[in-house]
Symmetry: C2
Amino acid sequence: MDGVKIIEIKKSVFESNDREADALRRELKQKGVFLLNLMSSPGSGKTSTLIRTINLIKNKLHTAVMEADIDSDVDAVKIKAETGVESIQLHTGGMCHLDAEMTRQGLDGLNLKDLDLVILENVGNLVCPAEFDTGSCKNAMILSVPEGDDKPLKYPLMFSVCDLVLINKMDVQPYFDFDLEKCRQNILRRNPKAQMIPISAKTGEGVEVFAQWLTDEVRDWKK
Amino acid sequence: MDGVKIIEIKKSVFESNDREADALRRELKQKGVFLLNLMSSPGSGKTSTLIRTINLIKNKLHTAVMEADIDSDVDAVKIKAETGVESIQLHTGGMCHLDAEMTRQGLDGLNLKDLDLVILENVGNLVCPAEFDTGSCKNAMILSVPEGDDKPLKYPLMFSVCDLVLINKMDVQPYFDFDLEKCRQNILRRNPKAQMIPISAKTGEGVEVFAQWLTDEVRDWKK
């Protein structure tokens, strides 16, 4: 199996992350590249969701993935092996999130002029990544059924900054005390504008809805 | 249902967390109180594991729980209602972890001279809490089956600082690609001294083993 490029991310030197994030977004707009920041807890299924989704869109959208992790390159290797799209690993050292400048370090490792869509798989963490604008065009997160329908009550900022919440592992709902309607209400309490898509990365259920959402977002961004 | 005490935690002013943590541990030793720092991802089952466990030990050990959360008091209320032991909620504001001084602020809200055991349920996060010694006597964590057996590869520090790893939600193992032996090997790679106990907070499987571990640790600490 081919190795993947690994970028060791350095701590940002910029004082104003919000300004850096806005500047990065303007550059992406000029270049016609849509950046999605995908966040979640550890183990909620970010990588397997991306593999399913990218295999649905890769013939229409030139896509690349940046996998942020404290250590290891297992996710980037897996994405590359199972989708064929470019995938790079960002090592954050011990850092628990990415900010805009760190995201830019990752984007510098890609050939943006050939791309329509870059997906940043952020560090698995429902707390810190929510506090830093990465410069992405949209924020999405995955909440998985085994984590419970009460998570929006306990991690309010994460749910309030996300445009889209994917509710993953719907295939195992019968084995957990997870009420989808209660989950929706808890999410809407934090973020009345949140869009929600129930999916199963394992069976493929609902993944085509997410693929269509991404396709529409990229089209709108390039207008 | 009775309300629970809520303590709004302030940011620490101390420069050396390690020194503060050692001082707190010495005080706890003098007072004969064992403090367990319990960490995990969001939704891995910390609260339900504690309820099962406390109901097994509460007649032998005077126990109290400190529930750290960014927001909400659902966990502290639940622990108090379902076990009857004292339970206080620590609000961390947006903070993603507790350090020793913050832990001390919580302990100040308890009557330590009546207690044998205090369990700190840390913020649900596999990254930041691992970086800060809370002053606890032992660190434990929960990894749940749906999160996957590869987590020790991706969150190395968390696994290396924990004396005990509870592997929870064993009841749903048939529905997930989770290899218990591979998980054990991944944990031992990070921490050759780690103890591991497979449990199910739902069915009760293995919880008595954790209860015995806690009982033994408290007895040794009080020697």
